[in-house]
Symmetry: C2
Subunit: 199 residues, 2 copies
C-alpha cells in the first residue's frame, strides 16, 4: 500500500528542482523532459501536464532564476552600512549566482531571444527594479539617464566577469578580485557621483 501514488502531488516543482541540478551538471543540452520524468518516477508524457513543451520548462526555469537572483540581491542589500559596502555585497552575490548557475543565466539572458511569457518578463523586471531601488532615492530627472546607464553597466560588468569565470577563462579567486576592482572603478567614476553618491 506504500506504492507510489498515481498522482505525484508536486510534479511541477519536482521537475524544476531536478532541472536546476541537471542544468548545473550537464548544461541546457543535457536537459531532457523524458529524463526529468524518469528521475521523478513518472511516465514520459507526464511533464506535458505542467509544461506545454520544452521551451515552457526553460521559460519557467528562467523565471525562477530571476526570482532567486532577486532574493539574493535583496539579501545582500540588507544592512545599514554605506552604499559602497552594500553595492560590493550585491556585486559579489550577483557574480556568485551567475557562476554557480551559469547555464541558468543563459536561459535568463538568451543569445537567441524569442518572445517570452509575461511571467518571465515580470520576473526580469523585478530584478532590475530591485537593482534600481538599491541605488537609493532619485535626485533629479536629468540624472535618470545616467542612473540607468550605471545600473546597466553594473549588471553588464558582473555578468561579464561571471562569464569569464564560468567558462574557465579566469579562476574564481581572480574573479573575486576582479569584482572588487570593478566596483572600485565604477563607484569612483564621475557617472557614479552623479547617481549613487551625488555631491
Amino acid at each position: 500500500m506504500t506504492e507510489r501514488p498515481f498522482h505525484h502531488g508536486s510534479l511541477r516543482t519536482a521537475l524544476l528542482d531536478e532541472a536546476i541540478l541537471v542544468l548545473r551538471e550537464s548544461g541546457v543540452q543535457g536537459l531532457s523532459l523524458r529524463d526529468l520524468a524518469r528521475r521523478a518516477g513518472v511516465s514520459h508524457g507526464a511533464p506535458r501536464s505542467h509544461f506545454v513543451d520544452r521551451q515552457a520548462l526553460l521559460d519557467a526555469l528562467a523565471e525562477t532564476g530571476f526570482r532567486r537572483l532577486t532574493s539574493h540581491v535583496e539579501l545582500a542589500l540588507a544592512g545599514q552600512d554605506d552604499v559602497r559596502q552594500r553595492f560590493l555585497r550585491v556585486a559579489r552575490a550577483y557574480v556568485n549566482f551567475a557562476i554557480d548557475d551559469a547555464a541558468l543565466m543563459d536561459l535568463m539572458f538568451p543569445a537567441t531571444p524569442a518572445p517570452r511569457p509575461s511571467a518571465v518578463a515580470d520576473a526580469a523586471h523585478d530584478l532590475f527594479a530591485t537593482l534600481d531601488n538599491a541605488m537609493g532615492p532619485r535626485h533629479s530627472a536629468t540624472d535618470e539617464v545616467a542612473r540607468e546607464s550605471f545600473e546597466m553597466l553594473f549588471a553588464a560588468t558582473m555578468q561579464g566577469i561571471a562569464t569569464l569565470v564560468a567558462s574557465n577563462r579566469i579562476d574564481r579567486a581572480r574573479g573575486d578580485r576582479l569584482v572588487d576592482e570593478a566596483m572600485e572603478m565604477m563607484l569612483g567614476s564621475a557617472l557614479a557621483t552623479r547617481t549613487v553618491a551625488p555631491g
Copy 2:
C-alpha cells in the same frame, strides 16, 4: 555530366560557413549535423569525415569565432591616433561582434565548460594576446597584475553589454552609448592610469 561530383571539394568549410548562418538564425539548438549535410547537398554521414561528432563541429566554430574576433580587433587597432580612440574602436568592434554572433560567443565562452581541443585554446589565447598587445609596451613588473585586471575587466564589460543587447534587455543604440560610457569610465580610472596611460 555536370552532375554534382562525388567529392564535395570543400565540405568542411561549407559546413562551417553554413553553420554560422544557422547559428545566427536559430541558435545552437537549431544546429544539426544532418541539416547541415542536407544544405550542403551531401548524405547525412558525410560530415563525420570532417567532424568526429557534433561537439567537434561546435569546437571548430568556436575556433573560427576566436580567429574572426581577433582579426576584427586587429583591424580596430590599426591607425596612429591616441590610445583612447583605439580602445574605443576595439570596444565597439568587440561588442558588435558579440551581438551579431551572440550564439557563437556562447560556444566560445560556454557556461558548462569541458576540455577543449588545443586549437580552440590556442585561438582563444591569440585573442587575449592581441588585446594585451593593444595596451602597448609594459611599464613595470608590479603593474602586470593591474594590467591583466584591466584587460579582463575590459573583456568582461564588453561581453556583458553585448549579452544585455543580444538578449533584448537593452536596444542596440543604448548599447552603443553604454560602450562609450564604459570606456570613459575605465580609461578615466586609476587602474587605467597605472597600466594604459601611466604618469
